[in-house]
């Protein structure tokens, strides 16, 4: 008998307090409907969330780890891109 792996899905959960769905892990499921159901059982059993997204893992295009040098290293010495050199007036409380 042919034995195939079920496709892989990436799971994103939005917590009660959170505004955004965060990546929590992955799982195997036959289809999207089942993936949501299984995500509920695997990733929300301790009240972690109020909303679930699942995305086929194969739909995600990732950056190449070998490109790290050209992709990310150039940003290391450009501290001026962080807005940390401004003096904030006291009245602005939450920045």
């Amino acid at each position: 008998m042919e034995r195939k792996e079920w496709p892989l899905w990436e799971v994103f959960i939005r917590s009660k307090q959170g505004l955004d769905h965060r990546h929590v892990g992955s799982l195997h499921a036959v289809d999207a409907k089942q993936a949501v159901q299984m995500a509920r059982d695997v990733y929300t059993r301790r009240m972690e969330g109020v909303s679930i997204w699942v995305v086929p893992s194969e739909a995600i295009t990732a950056s190449d780890p070998d490109d790290k040098a050209e992709m990310f290293d150039p940003m290391a010495d450009k501290v001026y891109r962080h807005p940390t050199f401004y003096k904030l007036p006291k009245e602005v409380e939450h920045m």
Partner: protein, 259 residues
């Protein structure tokens, strides 16, 4: 025994015993995700049993708590439906079968559809504690039922092998559903007092729900038969004592143990 208490034991024991059966899958599920799903469901059922047995123990007023009722009663004192105690392998003799996922999900469908109807009716119970337990459990059961129905459709309408396994399960399990709906003096008494519900009143809703799933799953209902099991009156199948022995051995070997 006080009929009110006995009625609570029927509900609580059915949840407890099926919870124990489903817990047998822990670590043996067909895939990791299902293993966790089924364990969650088993834990929900044990949670229902805890509430119901605690409530029964309080009404009894003899100092028995949930543990005393779950672990220190013997076979004939249990009031669960026979349906809930049948082994996960199915029940024919003479042929060794391992635990069958088809059998598990078909049984879950049949029982959870009953529970869904039952909790719905009991949310109006004159026993306010029971009504609250029913309202809480109804949400859990709605999910359990969805899980079971989903798998019955996938396996029933799946390969020739998975279809045959589900059909075999349905053929073996349907006769045990008669007990869910058969007329019964105790149930009649509790229903008349507004505490319980008659099985017969749950039949139409159960039928509609189960038939819809079976149709989508391309499974065929076996012809009706008159066999009626009597687990709810304490007359259990030969499979029950093994289940009880495993479930109770730890508590009986170490009475009062906590961890």
């Amino acid at each position: 025994m006080n009929p009110h208490i006995e009625y609570l034991l029927r509900l609580g024991d059915s949840s407890l015993v099926l919870g124990q059966r489903l817990a047998e899958w822990t670590g043996h599920g067909p895939v990791l995700e299902e293993d966790i799903a089924l364990t969650n469901i088993a834990l929900d059922l044990v949670g229902q049993a805890r509430l119901l047995l605690t409530h029964a123990g309080r009404l009894e007023g003899a100092g028995r708590d949930e543990d005393a009722l779950a672990y220190f009663r013997d076979t004939a004192e249990f009031r669960n439906f026979t349906l809930c105690e049948l082994p996960n392998s199915g029940i024919e003799r003479g042929r060794a079968h391992g635990a069958c996922y088809g059998f598990t999900v078909v049984r879950n469908l049949l029982f959870f559809a009953w529970q869904a109807q039952c909790w719905g009716a009991l949310t109006d119970s004159a026993d306010r504690d029971l009504a609250a337990i029913a309202a809480k459990s109804a949400k859990e059961t709605a999910y359990h039922l969805r899980h079971a129905a989903d798998w019955v459709v996938r396996l029933g309408d799946g390969t020739a092998d998975s279809h045959a396994r589900c059909q075999r399960a349905l053929d073996q399990l349907m006769p045990y559903c008669n007990e869910l709906f058969a007329a019964d003096a105790l149930e009649e008494d509790l229903a008349a007092r507004g505490i319980g519900v008659r099985g017969a009143d749950l039949k139409a809703g159960w039928d509609a729900q189960v038939r819809a799933v079976l149709e989508e799953a391309t499974l065929t209902l076996p012809a009706a038969c008159a066999f009626t099991s009597a687990g709810r009156r304490g007359q259990h199948s030969e499979h029950f004592e093994y289940l009880l022995a495993e479930m109770q051995s730890l508590a009986r070997a170490h009475p009062g143990a906590q961890w």
